[in-house]
Amino acid sequence: MIKKIVFFTFAVSFAGVCYGQAAEHPGKEYILKNGYQGPKTCEVCHPGKAKEFIGTVHWTHASKVDNVDNVKPNEVYGMKNRNYTMCNGNDIVNNLKEVPANDKGKTKFSGCNSCHPGDHASDVGSTGPAAEAAIDCLLCHSVKYDFSKRKPMKRNDGVVIIGQDRSVEAAANLGRPSNKTCMTCHEAAGGGVYVKRGFEMTAAADAHAAKKMVCIDCHVVKNHRIPTGFDPNNWAHDGLRLSCVGSCHTEKPHKDAQIDNHSSKIACQTCHIPKTGGATAKDFTVWTKLDNGFYEPSTLKKEVNETTPIYAWYNQTVANRPDFIGPKGSRIDGKSKIYPFKVFQGKAYYNKKTGELLSMDFAPPSSTGDTLAGVASAAKILGIKEYEPVPGWQTIYFSSNHQVAPKKRALSCANCHAPNGILNFKELGYSNEEIKNLTNPELYFQRLLKKQIEEE
């Protein structure tokens, strides 16, 4: 009885808290009375949060990296300074700027850091009072943010800034960040909607979203730090890591021991994320002219759920070479599991003198298509004097960690164990004899027959 009372009291209190959070931010009255002056207003009740935020990857766009080959342990890496063939540039060479006019006389603002949650005058990695005052808190915390105000423009002194919605209307209507909050920036990476990551967080596409879960239900934020997984392509992190197994799922989540036995060697994503999408290849050396007169990197695109992954052993350490960025691991290292990856291939210019991939400033080729002018501009920004550009390809593996399929669309036994299954056992390191056993119908025939009869 006592247990029941305690449970009931807890449930009512919890529901009350949730309702309270959804209904009204306790500071609403203060904001309506005093107006909204950016982070200064937030800090009245949340002191220290601005300083805390500018130490996170959302602001710095970089962090130290300890699981990737050929990086320096004391330096930071990320969108701020990395160069690879999904983007072929970074916040430094592609700092937000006005692109020169094209042959139709049109210009536009473009840059990697156009999603940075500052005002661009205080930019990636900036610190101090001006940086703290420039944080666009409402971008993530308001449910009535007017995104039309968040666009690049030139200040009277010529400095390019990004507008913010600091209206009382936006500030007085705060709420828990939703999928939309995250996807506003993250879906547009790589040159357009669903180009880089190729997944959408909708009920139709993702089993978690179908249960009305939002990004931060898994990426549980701690002091503005966002836990992330171990995508070989995504290096910068806030020091918090995330995996399916832990707070949400156990190592043995199925009601079937035979399936549970797979989890020691097969990552959850392998069966539960059978498809992904987005760009599969790009050519940065020859850009395509668009009808609006601008050029863009020539890109092979797929819609969400149109790309079939490749499968590889991954121990969460990353091979990083000019021609390849991808998973390291093997079936015998005791740490690896088989994971799904989207394979992306990008062509860009390499420096013949060093073998290193050269960056490109997108402003020149955006307006004229002259990609070598983009390389020259980036080299000038970076202080590279000796270079000889030659085209070359790089392969990158992107982890498939989102767009979890509903149970019905998850992979079943025969998807891997039939002779024409999706796993290339030979490539994965199995002998011919082992492959013969792994593709023996005895493994799955009765189980699938039973299922078939149940469904008929």
Binding site: F147, K180, T184, A188, A189, G190
Partner: protein
């Protein structure tokens, strides 16, 4: 001779049918890259009518939007008049119903 003639006629009929069918199928779908010149959200917020000015031809095309994801982007002004859009649509009872509606811009 009759056999040959009827064979030819059957083949010709099949060819015409295939051509007509594929033309119908093609006519039912379209794509456009255009700038939003007008955006009107319905009173119940369950649909929106958008006029896209074709970047190539300069002609206007009216498209009906009903998917929640895009409607939400209209409501909070993530997509506004003046934005350049890549759209795929289906001709549906005299209306052009959007099947894909994305901003061309990215980072």
């Amino acid at each position: 001779m009759k056999r040959v003639l009827s064979g030819v006629l059957v083949a010709a009929f099949m060819l015409v049918s295939v051509v007509m069918f594929s033309q119908t199928a093609q006519a039912d779908e379209g794509k456009i890259v255009g700038t939003i010149s007008k955006l009107v959200i319905s009173a119940d917020k369950k649909s929106a009518t958008v006029v896209l000015k074709d970047i190539k031809s300069g002609e206007d095309l009216t498209v009906l939007i009903t998917d929640d994801l895009t409607l939400d982007k209209f409501n909070d002004k993530r997509i506004v008049e003046g934005d350049e859009i890549r759209c795929k649509y289906e001709k549906d009872g005299g209306k052009n119903s959007s099947k894909m509606f994305k901003k061309t811009a990215g980072c």
